[in-house]
């Protein structure tokens, strides 16, 4: 029998949702200040309206749903999945007011792409966008990458069991520190330290490449936020091609790889346990995955004779590959070149890399290396069981911060999430084909959206069908939250209707 949620359940959800919305609203202060600094009148008004609307809605919810009850698992999951939808609608308001989107749906697509750190874009005339709007596009990547809820945990919510339940709902089931609030604060500390270092590195590189100082550091900050959070937006329409610089590309590769590493691993490296970097199952699998997918991509590029030299092949091929594997979506080629020049094999290499993704508890999307590693270990264990005598006890171990024994429930969970990702990739591909796009292009774009990558082969544009825009929004949302909180939300609505 399904139990109908009562008014207390709705109040708990509304209360925490309100806090998340207030947190989002406060972040709009930054583009407001940016607009003031650069004397951009209309963007200032856009963000003032966005700030007032968001804070107003948040305060209203917190007041209307005031409760002292702690969040249960169901509440935590629903708060997270609803927070992302509401954040999409609210973050899109100033973007839409800015006049760079053909419709509010396009602005919502952009904000979901930003929050989910995807990087697919429907923006118009990006090269004439204000500093304030550009900062906001990148800031929502930074906020979404660390987790909207993590901000609120770090600032507004005192440590409680409920806080942990909300934290888990945002696809982060690993606590870096024993307390979830301290974990949230650590994630933000790591992010801010890297933000300063990354902005300096990219700013100096841009300045050395001939970009004026203010723009160098503005681009540096924006590109860092999008690269570290494996997002993929840039403040210009040509993406990384704009800079025409090998050194800039190299710095972004390092930042993308840093963003693809588990926050828990960052903590151990910071606290002196550097050996963990080489022993950890995720970094090992990530290394092999990059090698294998790059081999496929390079063979494809060689077969299609795309680049006349090995260095060129490496510069273009490896950049796209790292960008795909880390789920960033930065590109130093034009989107249409994938289809027109790269050929099927090279594209298959990129699609595989996008589908795999980076580490768990990082900002990357996709299946993730820990799950791939667990599945491979389970396969090895089963092969050993067949080969070895029946009486032999086969124990499979792996190293993930600590030495761990492979258990059936881990394998089951890894397989389940992997299967759901594959289904999500397939669903988007079929819908793309329904709208008349060829198989490979549909698969490429669908995988890119669902794995929160952001590389495009040309399908994503303001003129694509509305149904496909909505499909990609849902894919980005479900892919970022890793399904469970999305399913809980659906279950909640079913219980509201059918429950007794």
């Amino acid at each position: 029998m399904i139990l109908k949620p009562n008014i207390e359940d709705v109040k708990v959800i509304g209360y925490y949702l309100g806090k998340v919305i207030i947190g989002l609203g406060l972040t709009m202060v930054l583009p407001v200040m940016t607009a003031l600094v650069f004397k951009e009148i209309n963007p200032f008004l856009d963000y003032l309206i966005g700030l007032e609307l968001t804070l107003g809605l948040g305060l209203l919810l917190v007041r209307a749903c005031s409760t002292k009850k702690d969040a249960r698992w169901m509440h935590g999951m629903i708060v997270v999945s609803l927070s992302w939808v509401v954040a999409m609608f609210l973050a899109a308001v100033p973007l839409y007011l800015g006049g760079h989107f053909k419709s509010y749906l396009d602005a919502c697509f952009e904000s979901m792409s930003g929050l989910a750190t995807t990087g697919l874009t429907l923006v118009q005339d990006l090269d004439h966008m204000s500093y304030a709007h550009n900062l906001w596009r990148h800031l929502i990547m930074f906020i979404g990458g660390q987790g909207i809820v993590v901000i609120v945990l770090a600032i507004f919510i005192r440590g409680s069991a409920g806080a942990f339940r909300i934290y888990v709902g945002e696809a982060r089931d690993e606590k870096v520190l024993p307390n979830v609030v301290n974990t949230g604060r650590f994630i933000w500390l790591v992010s801010f330290v890297y933000l300063i270092l990354g902005t300096l590195a990219l700013g100096i590189t841009a300045a050395l490449n001939g970009i004026p100082l203010v723009n160098s550091f503005f681009h540096g900050a924006c590109v860092f936020m999008a690269a570290f959070d494996t997002g993929g937006f840039t403040p210009n329409s040509q993406n990384i091609l704009y800079y025409h610089s090998l050194s800039f590309e190299l710095v972004t590769i390092i930042i993308m790889l840093l963003g693809a590493i588990n926050f828990k691993l960052h903590y151990h490296i910071w606290t002196g346990n550097r050996k963990e970097m080489w022993r950890n199952i995720e970094t090992t699998v990530l290394f092999f995955a990059i090698m294998v997918t790059f081999l496929i991509t390079a063979l494809g590029l060689q077969q299609s004779n795309v680049y006349p030299g090995a260095m060129m092949l490496f510069r273009r091929g490896f950049y796209q590959l790292v960008s795909a594997q880390t789920g960033t979506g930065y590109s130093n080629i034009y989107a249409h070149q994938f289809i027109r020049e790269w050929g099927n094999l090279a594209m298959a290499g990129i699609i595989l890399a996008m589908a795999f993704g980076g580490s768990s508890c990082s900002t990357t999307g996709g299946i993730k290396m820990l799950r791939v590693g667990i599945i491979v270990k389970a396969l090895i264990q089963d092969i050993k069981k067949i080969i070895l005598p029946e009486r032999a006890v086969v124990i499979q171990r792996y190293h993930h911060i600590y030495k761990m024994f492979l258990e059936d429930k881990q394998v089951r969970s890894a397989f389940l999430i992997t299967l759901l990702y594959l289904l999500l990739y397939a669903a988007g591909t079929i819908i793309g084909m329904f709208y008349g796009y060829p198989f490979l292009e549909s698969l490429f774009e669908s995988t890119s959206a669902a794995a929160n990558v952001g590389l495009s082969c040309g399908i994503t544009s303001a003129s694509m069908p509305v149904g496909l825009k909505i499909t990609y929004i849902v894919q980005m949302w479900a892919g970022r939250l890793e399904f469970m909180s999305v399913f809980t939300l659906l279950g909640f609505f079913v219980a509201l209707v059918k429950g007794k």
Partner: protein
């Protein structure tokens, strides 16, 4: 076989006919005009979409492209990188510092950039620049000068911001009263 014999006879008669020299000249002139027309066609501006979608066709050919200078003008030694946007895409143009002297305004939020026409070699995978797609400019000419964009005040936004401010203020006061 039969048909080709007839054609052969016709062609021989044509060659032996009086005034062949004149016809030959007309034929050659027409051919030259055709070549000239084709060269003019190639000198016509190619759009960014055409270039990106047909990279192999235009590779290493001299083309003419035009667009607005956007973003930063990046000086690299004796040369400069400029990105020109024709409304669909922006393409990087590599040109000598001297050629870039005419660029007075690049496009951003507050300005429309200068509109330039560039004639140069299009590279699908530039050997000099690590396989990037670019144009190496030979000549560059300004078509339109850039100008400041009048932002103007949007009164509807101002009104909305004021209304929302008062709603927010009311909510905050109610919250404070409840806390007391």
């Amino acid at each position: 076989m039969f048909k080709s014999k007839i054609e052969n006879r016709k062609f021989n008669r044509y060659l032996r006919a009086p005034g062949f020299g004149g016809r030959f000249k007309v034929f050659c002139s027409a051919f030259l005009i055709l070549i000239f027309a084709l060269s003019i066609a190639y000198a016509e501006t190619v759009s960014s979409a055409d270039l990106i979608n047909n990279t192999k066709e235009f590779d290493t050919k001299t083309i003419t492209y035009e667009g607005e200078v956007i973003g930063d003008i990046m000086i690299r030694g004796r040369n400069v990188w400029v990105n020109l946007n024709d409304g669909k895409n922006a393409i990087g143009v590599w040109l000598g510092k001297a050629l870039a002297g005419d660029i007075a305004q690049s496009g951003n939020y507050k300005f429309k950039g200068d509109w330039f026409q560039v004639t140069g070699v299009f590279n699908r995978a530039c050997l000099e620049h690590g396989g990037g797609l670019d144009i190496h400019a030979q000549t560059i000419s300004k078509i339109k000068s850039g100008y400041a964009v009048d932002e103007g005040l949007n009164w509807r936004k101002i009104n909305l911001a004021v209304i929302l401010f008062f709603i927010l203020l009311t909510l905050w006061i109610l919250r404070q009263l409840k806390n007391k």
